[in-house]
Homo-oligomer: 203 residues x 2
DNA sequence: TGTACATCAGTGAACGCGCGTTCACTGATGTAC
DNA sequence: TGTACATCAGTGAACGCGCGTTCACTGATGTAC
């Protein structure tokens, strides 16, 4: 009666599936994967502990869905980051920086995607890696494309882990983390790695 | 009676503490951290489930001890890898490669060190990171030493994770993994990063 | 060498706990006529 | 618009389980004299 519902809610709760996923992400952010439980997730969502079974086959299915969503978002972020960037080397950097930014903005997703038992290379992550390989291939040439991609992925992945573990001083916000990633990428093409910019350009 | 004991065994079991740690490592290797239990560990070690409490205060204490051991081994491997290597740039590579090799040879330790809740930056890992910083400082100059170390650490750390997750094709043995790391490091100073070797040298 | 005592590693029963999952149910929502 | 029925999201009790941890105990080992 109070006010007209803004969203059309179907059935009783409406969007319990989404609410449960958000609750799971919140719990994993706060307490880590290792003690995440379905029951506490339902509690946080304000439903009985049996309710989740109307939306997910079991506990792992919920986590798998979070992983799937994470890979989807990651791919979108990557595509968005390289859109309009011409220089292949810049594209690789942009993608890596977006990767790191995604990790620090969605730490729970990152954890589920990369340090849980539910996301194996075969179950998820179809597009994100392929996109990385394509970008890396464009910059590295056809001689060692996959390994160039793996190198860039390693650097991005490593930075993400260190950031999430709080091992990078002064990187306390997503912006600061992104700046860090930007500087590291610059560094690898700069003093440490040499200046390849002059040679690799198209014109 | 059968034969004289080779090792002097004290008390009943002898070296249950060590046996328990080995059992824990074996279990974590096989089943992952997320379902490691003290009881199964004791079972595998052939003692009652209460026996571990004579050697470790609680479950986390056992894991913490594995982490501590891991950081100790990692530091030793790093020191050994850079011993006798003159060129600072080569030292950084050598350390990073040793880091990766350690990860693939001791995956359970790596997991406990970097993806468990027991090893926080404040509880352990005193020497290993300092060693890395020192090496990186020597190669990068005093302008951005810590960030150079973080970059190298990121690359090594990322490669380790991808290798442990089985995301690097054809890297099925410790040797193959080390070769991969070697190639990636070479790649970063090579085509992708440019050839810094000619400029960065001492003479 | 032998005896008495102290120490302490390992035992097995017992505790309480939160978990994942199932099930018969209820009550709200959607649909056919 | 109204009624009868089907659907299905959420409930709450119940299940069995393995876990971490405690405790009084036992029996082997070490030590003093």
């Amino acid at each position: 009666m109070r006010s007209s519902k803004r969203k059309k809610k179907s059935y009783h709760h409406g969007d319990l599936r989404e609410v449960l996923m958000n609750a799971a992400v919140e719990l994993i952010d706060e307490q880590g994967l290792h003690q995440f439980s379905l029951r506490e997730c339902a509690r946080l969502a304000g439903v009985s502990h049996a309710a989740p079974y109307r939306h997910f086959e079991d506990k792992d299915a919920l986590l798998r869905e979070i992983a799937r969503q994470g890979f989807e978002w990651l791919e979108a972020a990557g595509r968005s980051a390289i859109a309009g960037v011409e220089d292949a080397r810049d594209r690789l950097d942009a993608y890596g920086i977006a990767y790191v930014r995604f990790a620090v903005e969605h730490p729970a997703h990152h954890r589920v995607m990369f340090t849980s038992h539910v996301a194996t290379p075969n179950t998820v992550d179809p597009g994100a890696f392929k996109l990385l390989v394509e970008t890396a291939t464009a910059v590295a040439g056809p001689d060692a494309p996959e390994e160039a991609a793996l190198a860039a992925w390693s650097l991005s992945h490593g930075m993400s882990m260190l950031l999430l573990d709080g091992r990078v001083p002064h990187a306390t916000s997503a912006e600061a983390a992104e700046d860090f990633a930007r500087r590291v990428f610059a560094q690898w093409r700069g003093p440490l790695g040499g200046t390849a910019r002059k040679t690799g350009r198209k014109r």
